[in-house]
Symmetry: C2
Subunit: 315 residues, 2 copies
């Protein structure tokens, strides 16, 4: 018998944590966008469909970036059309007004823009300064809001930057405030290179609270590069955060290592939340089965420890 | 440049955590005892020597069990003699009075016995009931204390058992009390199958406090089977625990999967503690280099995420 059949983990609630967490599932977009081999649209659609079948309520579907930048997502229209009937939220990324046009034409009701907390990454990823990129997003957010569309603002490099090293907390707070002030409904605080630790998470959330950023508008997006994603998540839950980004099977690793770890694996998150008695609505066994299925398509094992343990998957 | 060269992780202390943590390094014993291929005594000794060179102050060296049970540790005498000059604590495991005789003959100043919180594991591992195994340890502990030797009591299956599933907290507290009452100086609360979650950790530590078990006498020994070891460690630190067991490079995995994860990797722990500003005395870069060196000897990569990230090690 595996652990879940034995009734493990035991559920023992901890004080001061939320009763419910919404998981923002990014495996289909963030997880697959860096795959070298093309993943067939039908496989992606089936993946999204299976994810929806696990009880996940928010499944980021794709990104309407120019195919030149992310060839893996060149099928955004076809994929979105193939899953639009699912009874879940299907946010999509839009880098600019052209991307928003494409998303709106398909009837998308949730979009996301992606900003950077550092000048170096804004330059590398968007070829703009931080303020220039905010200026680019402003009309996107305004038009989306005018259409009644929910807007998420991703913020990269909130805890460290591969060129600049340390990222001062006030610098992150400033960009968060700017994104909310232009109309974003929700922010996702990204630890893009996985260097956050729990005290840093607590400090940033405290500073955002001090800047009148409501915790209900915040999600956290941790990477497991140094194995810290779950302890950072625990620190965020202790500060009242109720939206956590994760990627089924831990899809979306660093480019330099096979099965290396980028995104927090949804299964590892669900395991912890189940133990804490925090409701997610997710069926863990179905989720593990979905990640095992996807891993077979990709031809390499999941880096999720929970997937490995529950599926007795060889590395 | 890697992250440490960039000054990452940023150090941001969190309230209510200890200023200093003692890492009880188990890689040389717990990590290597299940290796199928024999590791040469000289390699093990060099491993212990390099670990000592990283600043680790407590390095569990070997186990004086009968070689029939753990063939990999049949060289306990030779290994201990080869490292006894190191200026660190070198605890050794002793299952019974014969083992204690061997350890004392070599001048060991710290020994450990290993008990079980569950009847199923006591039967499987010690071929005794829990109470019979406690009776077996009692003269071992008494004699060790009479010799002025420090005694650690390991307690397995504190959070779940692969036969019994849930393990009630009061059952764990009872065995902890018994081990302390017979003279153990320190306990190590083992999550042998990795099923603990943070609320469970908090609850057990609270119950032990209620049973007058001083937190200073407690260490935690988490496994990363489901990726939970560090968040459980954070919960333990928040309850005042200052002794944490870990294994360099995450050595000591589940037998069923190559590079699968058993013990918490010391590097992942040191990374978190460094970020939290908690002093460990450990040089992380030297520790990573030691684990990379050992991984080359074992012919497979380290499962530690921090080792992989800092060494750019392919999986």
């Amino acid at each position: 018998m595996n652990a879940t059949e034995l009734g493990l983990p035991m559920t023992v609630a901890a004080q001061g944590l939320p009763a419910r967490v919404r998981i923002h599932e990014v495996g289909a977009r963030d997880g697959l966008q860096n795959e070298k081999a093309t993943v067939a649209t039908a496989v992606k659609a089936e993946f999204v469909r299976r994810l929806a079948g696990t009880g996940l309520s928010t499944i980021e579907a794709t990104s309407f970036v120019h195919p030149k930048w992310v060839p893996q997502l060149a099928d955004a229209e076809d994929l979105y059309a193939a899953v639009a009937d699912l009874p879940v939220s299907l946010p999509v990324l839009v880098p600019n007004e052209r991307g928003l046009d494409r998303a709106l034409a398909l009837g998308a009701r949730r979009v996301a823009v992606f900003a950077s907390a550092t000048e170096s990454f804004a330059r590398a990823n968007l070829n703009r300064t931080v303020d220039e990129s905010l200026a680019m997003f402003e009309p996107v957010v305004r038009r989306a809001k005018a259409e009644g569309v929910h807007v998420r603002g991703y913020l990269s490099m909130c805890f460290g930057d591969p060129w600049e090293g340390a990222v001062p907390v006030p610098q992150v707070v400033r960009v968060c405030r700017a994104l909310l002030d232009m109309g974003c409904d929700e922010l996702s605080l990204g630890d893009t290179i996985g260097v956050a630790t729990p005290g840093h998470v607590t400090a940033l959330l405290g500073a955002l609270d001090g800047a009148d950023v409501p915790v209900a508008a915040l999600g956290v997006h941790f990477h497991d590069t140094y194995g810290q994603a779950l302890s950072n998540t625990l620190a965020a839950l202790q500060r009242g955060v109720t939206t956590v980004d994760a990627s089924a099977g831990g899809l979306g690793g660093c480019p330099y290592a096979k099965s290396a770890t980028g995104n927090l694996a949804t299964e590892d998150l669900v395991w912890m939340l189940r133990g804490l008695g925090i409701d997610t609505g997710v069926d863990l066994d179905r989720l593990v089965a979905t990640s095992v299925w996807m891993a077979a398509h990709l031809g390499r094992p999941s880096p999720s420890r929970t997937v490995r343990a529950l599926s007795h998957q060889e590395q």
